[in-house]
């Protein structure tokens, strides 16, 4: 097993060979993890804040904005905390393939049961 390079607080990424797998990847450092946590917290705070604005809750922008912020949080965790941004493309395919199937299934079922029909 290859030893890992020591972390460098100043840099944002370090190269790591996963378990001697022969694939060199850049990994986020501790400072990147903390920054990601701050961003996730900030987005969550905004989500809850907009929930308590009655005029905005009844506007057309409310649901799309919440879905967008949720998708951003989802992507940040998957890319940085689950290292998918830095990992092998096979892992990306194993995750994004079923995720796409899942999202298409949800959308299709919502159309089928008339949940999205009123908005089209």
């Amino acid at each position: 097993m290859a030893d890992h390079a020591p972390t460098h607080a100043a840099s944002t990424e370090v190269a790591v060979d996963h378990h001697g797998a022969g694939v060199m990847h850049e990994h986020p450092t501790w400072s990147t993890y903390w920054k990601v946590a701050v961003i996730l917290t900030a987005i969550t705070a905004i989500e809850v804040w907009v929930y308590y604005i009655p005029n905005f809750v009844h506007s057309r922008a409310f649901v799309p904005l919440l879905l967008f912020m949720s998708a951003v949080k989802f992507a940040i965790v998957v890319l940085f905390y689950m290292h998918l941004k830095y990992d092998h493309r096979l892992f990306r395919a194993l995750f994004t393939g079923p995720l796409i199937v899942a999202m298409v299934t949800i959308t299709a079922l919502l159309f089928l049961f008339g949940k999205l029909a009123a908005r089209v």
Binding site: A2, A21, V48, S70, Y81, L94
Partner: protein, 228 residues
């Protein structure tokens, strides 16, 4: 991203390596990603069931609307408690941070720690225990929420909202419980013999599972709690 072709280093692809794989990748990581992929579809089915049944309950309590029981005249407020759930969401997000710090600590176990902050950041036991504790805190919030719902008249048999809500969040809670047990097992191993770079893949797959539980909650929090 820098990606050197798989044949560049011989470790896993080496014919003499008993753990050699045809892909050059660790089988355990491939398995956990395939498992996570299948879990995506499980939770998609639960989320779509909740969304389809949303707004179709004949009797209350309802998630976001006040309801008056015509039989008793009893007023029931909107049952979802957003402040409490926001706090539990924050706890789960912080547990993901603790988990990546635990993994980084295991990966860099052999790197000398000179300052106090480096020693804290490099303590895998601290971060594993912190992650498990935050997970248990989240479960405590969920137990409080479920109990208060039952006291307010919403059980899994009350209406379509109750059935789909308890099934979805209950499944998620069961996943968190499994994750906490997994983390405590890793903590016990770390206490007993110490986790180091050779254990990286074992901690990594636990971390991937834990982060997946987190991203599922990110979706549930928005779709179930915030969107009215």
């Amino acid at each position: 991203m820098t990606s050197v072709p798989i044949g560049a280093a011989p470790a896993i692809g080496d014919a003499h390596d008993p753990h050699a794989t045809s892909t050059g990748l660790d089988n355990k990581k491939i398995a956990i990603w395939a498992f996570i992929g299948s879990e995506c579809m499980l939770f998609a089915s639960l989320i779509s069931t909740y969304l389809i049944y949303k707004g179709r309950s004949k009797v209350g309590p309802f998630p976001h609307e006040v309801w008056t029981d015509p039989m008793t005249g009893q007023h029931m407020k909107a049952i979802l408690n957003i402040p409490v759930t926001s706090a539990s969401t924050f706890v789960l997000l912080m547990s993901s941070l603790a988990m990546v710090l635990a993994l980084a600590a295991v990966q860099h176990k052999n790197v000398p720690k000179r300052t106090t902050s480096e020693r804290i950041l490099g303590s895998s036991q601290l971060w594993l225990l912190m992650t498990a504790a935050l997970g248990m805190t989240f479960l405590g919030f969920q137990a409080y929420e479920f109990t208060s719902f039952v006291h307010e008249g919403l059980s899994i048999r009350t209406n379509l909202f109750g059935s789909s809500f308890f099934t979805l969040t209950g499944f998620h809670g069961a996943h968190v419980t499994a994750g906490v047990i997994w983390l405590l097992t890793l903590f016990a191993i770390d206490r007993k013999r110490g986790l180091g770079p050779r254990d990286e893949v074992n901690v990594d797959i636990a971390a991937l599972y834990w982060h997946f539980v987190d991203v599922v909650w990110i979706a549930i929090f928005t779709l179930v709690y915030l969107i009215q």
